[in-house]
């Protein structure tokens, strides 16, 4: 079941690489958050403890509801236009993502021979980290950079569930809170930038001086 959800996660990554609309990116992130919450709920079916339900619930709340809601609010408040404005051609971008994804799968296959990992979730998480980095590098809009960062964080979470040893719940919760604060701060920063500059492109920030 975890593999199935990881495959869905990979598909959502491909869609994130393909889409040229900011709103679709938010939808993808929301879907990824829900998938992650479900993946983290799965172990509870074998062994239920009340303490461990906090993490999936927090994931669903923060990644599935709160962050997408907040990003949508920023989009409407600041009137951010829908195209994502890539710096390279979308075609090249998807080719890059596919190539790196294949490389990650091959690497995970090699890694699995020496360590105890679940290949599919591991490779999906790894691919998400790489896709996130690529989104940050090859998109102009600042808000899309935040989304690339969030995709990366989602990847790290999936990564965590693929390795054999488990992190304490409190650390994972701390990570979640961290992400939320980052997104929150980014929103405030964007708001501040909007009072000084008209656009939200990283290219324009070069003009800023102290």
């Amino acid at each position: 079941m975890e593999n199935v959800l990881s495959i869905l996660f990979c598909l959502s990554l491909l869609y994130l690489a393909l889409t040229s609309r900011v709103k679709h990116c938010v939808n993808v992130l929301q879907a990824q958050g829900i998938i992650l919450a479900v993946i983290n709920t799965l172990p509870l079916f074998h062994h239920f403890t009340l303490g461990e339900i906090i993490l999936p619930a927090a994931l669903l709340g923060i990644k599935g509801v709160l962050i997408p809601f907040y990003i949508r609010k920023i989009i409407t408040d600041l009137d951010i236009k829908d195209p994502i404005e890539p710096t390279i051609q979308q075609f090249t971008f998807i080719m890059l993502v596919i190539t790196l994804m294949s490389a990650v799968f091959v690497a995970s296959g090699i890694l699995a021979k020496s360590t105890e990992i679940n290949i599919i979730p591991f490779a999906s998480g790894f691919s998400a980290i790489i896709t996130g980095i690529l989104v940050i590098i090859f998109r102009k809009k600042l808000l899309v950079h935040v989304m690339g960062f969030l995709a990366m964080e989602n990847g790290i979470f999936l990564f965590g569930s693929a390795i054999a040893f488990k992190l304490p719940v409190i650390i994972e919760l701390g990570m979640l809170l961290d992400i939320f604060v980052v997104v929150f701060l980014m929103g405030i920063a964007l708001n501040k930038i909007s009072t000084t500059l008209s656009g939200f492109e990283a290219a324009q920030l070069r003009r800023l001086k102290d």
């Binding site: 598909l11 491909l14 799968f105």
Partner: protein
């Protein structure tokens, strides 16, 4: 037994030839109803084909023998492809190891001759359509091979009917392969048959057309062959799409045929729905759309390779 197999094969081929225009009519009717129109009757494609068949064929003065040859080759190629189909899991007329390659390239031959005929006439419009068709073909073939190829890998067979016969949705991860493959196969069908997000079959504006522009100068029986083979091609892809969800063991029984018919109806509904809610993509956006489908196939292959 061999005689029975031949009979089954002939019956499936006959089914495809007979019902191909009906399927196109069904999709158009549902599309019309979804957009609040009454629409042409379901039988309209039959009337159109009949009308075209009776009309006189007029060819351009600049056209060479290729223009006369191409419609017939197109039609023959599509019929050969149709005779490899596993309709209702019946034994197809043509089936041997590795026939997925023949299937892909016999349709490739049809496309090649259509492109050649379009350029043969010497109109710049048709040349443009031919160039578009050729450039899409480059992206379409990887989709076919990655998708059906990955299933061939998983099942260990290389013949279309064997592949579809051995699809068993018993394991959860297997079901995901099938669902994912059927998504990319749907995109393939839409592209190959020049349906909505890729090409609009209803427009006759030269700048938005891909498939339609190539047959702009054809008339009469030539156009009949092109239209009819277009309809058959659509049904071929739809049968391949529905065969993913055909339960094993249902076979050629009354239940099996009912399930098959329901499957086809459902896909026609989905196709009409997709055509209603989507608009045609920009030409420059098409490669990523097709690459996405190919990426799904690659992902399937990767997951299968490393999930053993």
């Amino acid at each position: 037994m061999a005689l029975m197999n031949i009979f089954e094969g002939l019956a499936s081929l006959f089914f495809v030839l007979l019902f191909a225009p009906l399927f196109a009519g069904l999709v158009n009717k549902q599309k019309a109803m979804m957009t609040g129109r009454v629409g042409a009757p379901v039988w309209q494609p039959y009337y159109d084909l009949f009308k075209l068949f009776r009309k006189e064929t007029i060819r351009a003065k600049s056209a060479s023998f290729i223009s006369g040859l191409s419609p017939a080759i197109n039609f023959a190629a599509v019929i050969i492809a149709a005779s490899m189909l596993p309709v209702c899991n019946a034994h197809p007329l043509i089936s041997f190891k590795g026939d997925i390659i023949l299937f892909a390239y016999i349709l490739g031959t049809a496309r090649f001759f259509q492109i050649l005929a379009a350029m043969d006439i010497g109109s710049s419009f048709e040349g443009m359509g031919a160039s578009r068709e050729a450039s899409f073909a480059i992206f379409v073939e990887p989709i076919f091979f990655f998708t059906l190829g990955s299933i061939a890998f998983i099942t260990g067979f290389t013949s279309i009917s064997d592949i579809y016969r051995s699809i068993a949705m018993d394991r959860m991860s297997y079901t995901v392969f099938i669902v994912v493959c059927s998504i990319s196969f749907f995109i393939l069908a839409v592209t190959e048959c020049s349906r909505m997000p890729v090409d609009d079959p209803n427009t006759h504006l030269e700048l938005t057309m891909i498939h339609e522009v190539m047959i702009l100068d054809n008339s009469g029986q030539d156009l009949f062959f092109y239209q009819y083979s277009g309809n058959i091609k659509l049904l071929i892809y739809i049968v391949l799409e529905t065969a993913f969800y055909y339960p094993l063991g249902a076979g050629l029984t009354a239940v099996g045929v009912t399930i098959f018919a329901l499957n086809i109806l459902f896909v026609s509904f989905v196709l009409a729905g997709v055509e209603t809610v989507t608009s045609r993509f920009k030409l420059k956006d098409m490669p990523h759309y097709l690459l996405f489908a190919a990426a799904i196939g690659i992902l399937n292959l990767l997951i299968f390779t490393f999930n053993k």
